[in-house]
Symmetry: C2
Subunit: 216 residues, 2 copies
């Protein structure tokens, strides 16, 4: 079995990384925060197309006229959610990948990315399932954030292979698999799952370490 | 590096398994086939809520009145797509899991499940992203197919652990990870990806074998 250097240390570093991200979760002013929260709730419950501005107004305690002061359209709200979700995901990945030791970097990345997808699953699902509703310019900006995230993982895996800390058959394929493990958590994880987000993160550190051939 | 007994053999068995599934891909009568194909195209392009029966009628070359002879509603069409997708996925998993040797079974399962998700990605995405639009009774039937699929993978991983062919820290967690790897392929795979569905299946056999601790 590949050695997992220390999943508990990786989890502690990952918890600190996620805590440092906390301020980023804010949407700005309290009114904007209330609007975006109401939009997320309604998109999750009724879908983007099933949501009207009335639903969002009701959920945020504002008039529809007041909504327009902050957001020009429903699509703007979806874009705000998508940009925030993708910026956070990229922030987690890039911060973890910047850790000099590639094994620690990969373990902190997998722990934080997995835990975050379990906790932020409602946001992640809406962003994923409704992405077709983004306008072309907005879709392009999101695609850029995704490419940057994928590239950060590939660079890390490549660095680990170059220094013989990882052994993988295909850097790009192993990177896609590492990202898939975390992203798909948002699809299947629920409050009835037999792991806390923390415990799932620790378990996935071990599975990802095997996948990357750590310690072989 | 965990020994992959023979990924090429697993792929050949998987290709045969998928070929045996071909007849299941049919939707019945040619008219029904045309309707369901048009519904899938429109759901993929415009989303379920953005699709009208007129779009499906135009896509299938029928009148909207003629559609009602075969399907009572747009939701019935989504359910037909979802049931077919989930039945095929369960068929792939259950057929592979029935192979007596657990390593071969897991490798054939991962190859076929991965290749199928790359090829059937449009269907898989529509089924996943629009699942909230299913009526309660239909949603329950689909949830049952998902549970059966998850259980078949868990039973296989448990069998491999019991016979010391696999070494995993958590049978349920490793099973979720194996399924995630395949399912998430439908999200990210495109015709511009640097692997054919076959090559990705072979690569994932190796990654999944490491994850399951095969040959350790």
């Amino acid at each position: 079995m590949p050695a997992v250097t220390d999943a508990a240390t990786a989890a502690a570093l990952g918890d600190r990384l996620l805590a440092d991200m906390e301020p980023w979760r804010d949407w700005g002013k309290p009114t904007q925060q209330a609007i975006v929260d109401a939009a997320l709730d309604s998109f999750a419950e009724r879908g983007f197309h099933g949501t009207s501005l009335k639903h969002i107004a009701q959920g945020s305690g504002l008039s529809t006229a007041a909504l327009y002061v902050h957001f020009a359209s429903k699509e703007e709200l979806l874009f705000a959610l998508s940009r925030r979700g993708h910026t956070l995901a990229l922030g987690i990945v890039a911060t973890a990948a910047a850790i000099p030791d590639p094994v620690t970097a990969a373990q902190v990345l997998v722990y934080s990315f997995t835990r975050w997808h379990a906790e932020a699953r409602t946001l992640a699902r809406v962003v994923q399932y409704e992405q077709g509703a983004l306008g072309p310019g907005h879709a392009e900006e999101i695609a850029g954030l995704r490419r940057d995230t994928e590239q950060a993982v590939r660079d890390l895996v490549g660095r680990g292979v170059a220094s013989a800390r990882f052994a993988v058959p295909d850097v790009r394929g192993a990177s896609a698999a590492i990202l898939s493990l975390g992203i798909d958590v948002a699809r299947w994880y629920s409050s009835r799952s037999p792991w806390t987000p923390h415990d799932l993160g620790v378990l996935y550190v071990e599975l990802a370490s095997r996948l990357l051939g750590v310690g072989e």
